[in-house]
Amino acid sequence: MTKSKFQILNLKFVICYLFVICPLLFIVPGCAKAQENAKPVKRIVLWHWLADREEALKTLTRKYKDLTGVEVKCQLYAPSDAYAQKIMAAGQAKALPDIYGFLGEKRIFAAFIKAGHIADLTLYMGYNNGSWKKKLFEKALKVNEFLPENEYGVAPGIYGVPIDVMNIQMLYNKKLLKQAGLDPNNPPRNWHDFIAALEKLKQANIKGFVSGWGETWLIDCFAHNYAFNIMGEQKVIDTIKGKVPYNDPDWVSVFKLFDQLARKQLLVSGIATMGNKTAEQLFANEKCAFAFNGSWCVNVYKGMNPNLDYGVMLPPQASSKYPMVIWGGAGLSFMVNGRSKNKEEAIAFLRWLTERDQQVFLAQETMNLPSNRESLANIPAILTQFADDMNNITHPNLLPVQESPRALEALTKGIQAIIIGVKTPEQAAEDVQKVKVRMLKQEAASKQ
């Protein structure tokens, strides 16, 4: 009798476990979330990946809470690679926060918009005769804008708010230039003088040029700067469209610049696999005279070597046919989740964040270029040098067409091959063209 009672109790426990406790374990957290969502929310969540902006953003969110009573919960997820994956996964689970920084190509940006993950801000930007829009750098806004009849099929509009802007330029160490007998106040303006300066540095036993070319986007950026300079924007666009081959003499000329730098041994050793962080360390620690880096480096160098004396210049022109343009645009852009229940609060916060005072604070704390043009008067001197060239910027996202990732990979890997000497510029150009033709064929097949 006792035994059977025990068995019944045991059975009851098992049934209770399977059908009550187990489901409750799944249901309870879900209910909690539902209750949380049901509350009248005065809290918005913000995700980003930039560790150097974290403290300044947190300070501003505290200030915003005091002003409005809306709590902005700032969450940092670094590094950028992991962050890019995180927002993709969160998008799939429809779990993106109210505001988030977006990282990726325009093609992926478009996919996010089409999936309803990003709200259209055009109307908000246009209020009050476009007062918000007018305050911001036009080209930084353009990076987040889709024009009518764009190739991605996205409804035209502005889909992001630039919080700061950036451009990528050439930097030079004044002390090292002086040591090599060069004039630190008159850095080289054209390619010929640049090579001559690097050779002089080499003779003085000073490493010439460093950049994080192990990260292929920086090679892509450098190569496209010179492509624009040598053949002009239209020809670059025609190449992407497949009308001009990559083995065109102008493209070979671009590849030859890398070959010249490498064969004359003017590049820092190991540049083909060097990450940008290492390149930044080498320049900050005065191991290299020239660097190719973005305006965010001001903050990085300040942290690594506060006494570093350096200047900013446009990459030296290789041709006088077309002007030298540089990559630039929005540094950090925030997007508003299209599904957010707190859309209005999120947009109000972003509007506040891009106002003059907040922008000056961000520029002074994080040493990044502000996206609000009115704040430029109050930024550090070195940032002003970057800001001076904001009119010369371009960006792949500003072009009407985008190159396929495989063709870009072939281009950047081909340049790495030139640097280590296993391919000639002509061979590398042929290889890129082969991949381009294959991609065009695949594109045509998938359209059929």
Binding site: A84, Q85, R107, A111, A115, G214, Q265, T273, G421, V422
Partner: protein, 307 residues
């Protein structure tokens, strides 16, 4: 009555395994089926549904259009695996044999040998990057101070000016393979040592009485008994080395050129570029290759064991 009892008994048992089956189905079987489904589709990883069903197009593109890079990356992973199977496992076996004997401070050695596997792979990669660095790396400094300055290289991206085409091609990959072996030998060491310590000591004593020398003891006693453990180590080594990619990301990011790309970095690139369908097809092909490799290894070892 018996039928009811039996049914109740079976139902009761199934109820017990239900949570485990449900979790297994949700987290293993469903994703596997989903990967197969996605590999037959075009999907950017963002839209809620794949944009188009493309049949075997992704597989065709991998096997016939993207052949050079894909199979080269496979070969490069194979090269690292070969290093791991030989140098890493031989070193692990030798150290395990040494630690199996009653040596002084054996526990300390075991601890030291097991340090590399427990270190973060990214940290190990970055530390070795500094050792190999061609500008101010420790290896070049040691070589120079030891009077071998002519051997100093830019180990992870040598240029043709520094040596032959073969050297430029193979040196970065070999450097990564060495780090992989350094990082991985501790696992093999622990597994092999556990296997060795399970061999009854009286077998060795009997062999000694019969006049067997050290080699005969190893070849006729240790090796046959250790065979299942070695099969396990070999299979784990193949799977670990073929799928390794963190060291590569930390040390070379797949460069220079495509010289240190492995299948996983190719899959990762496809995902980053928003070609999830293609990435799933790559994963399936890679998974099948690993399965075939492991299965053939297992079969071969069983045959050898029987022989």
């Amino acid at each position: 009555m018996d039928y009811i009892k039996k049914t109740r008994y079976i139902t009761f048992n199934y109820l017990f395994i239900f949570p485990a089956v449900a979790i297994f189905s949700l987290f293993y079987i469903y994703p596997f089926i989903k990967v197969i489904h996605l590999s037959l589709s075009q999907w950017d990883g963002i839209a809620f549904k794949p944009s188009a069903f493309v049949g075997l197009l992704n597989f065709k593109n991998i096997l016939f259009n993207d052949t050079a890079n894909w199979w080269a990356s496979m070969g490069q992973a194979g090269y690292i695996t070969l290093w791991a199977l030989t140098f890493q496992n031989i070193l692990a076996l030798l150290l395990a044999l040494a630690c199996d004997r009653a040596i002084k401070a054996g526990a300390i050695y075991r601890f030291i040998f097991f340090i590399p596997p427990i270190l973060s792979e990214v940290v190990v990669g970055l530390v070795w990057w500094w050792i190999y660095d061609g500008n101010w790396g420790l290896l070049n400094q040691w070589l120079t101070s030891a009077g071998f300055a002519h051997l100093a290289h830019n180990w992870l991206s040598p240029s043709l000016e520094e040596g032959s085409r073969l050297m430029v091609r193979m040196l970065p990959l070999t450097c990564i393979a060495i780090v992989h072996c350094w990082k991985g030998f501790g696992w093999a060491f622990i597994i092999l040592l556990a296997g060795l310590q399970n061999i009854p000591r009286n077998l060795y004593e009997a062999a000694k009485v019969d006049g067997a020398d050290a080699w005969e003891v190893f070849w006729r006693i240790t090796f046959p008994i250790m065979m299942p453990v070695m099969i396990l180590v070999v299979i784990l080594t193949i799977l670990g080395a073929m799928q390794g990619f963190v060291l590569i990301l930390a040390m070379t990011n797949g460069g220079p050129y495509y010289y240190t790309e492995v299948p996983v970095t190719r899959i990762l690139d496809s995902m980053r570029n928003g070609h999830f369908g293609f990435a799933c097809a790559q994963s399936l092909i890679f998974g099948m290759i690993l399965l075939i490799l492991s299965f053939s290894q297992f079969k071969l070892s069983r045959k050898m064991q029987k022989a």
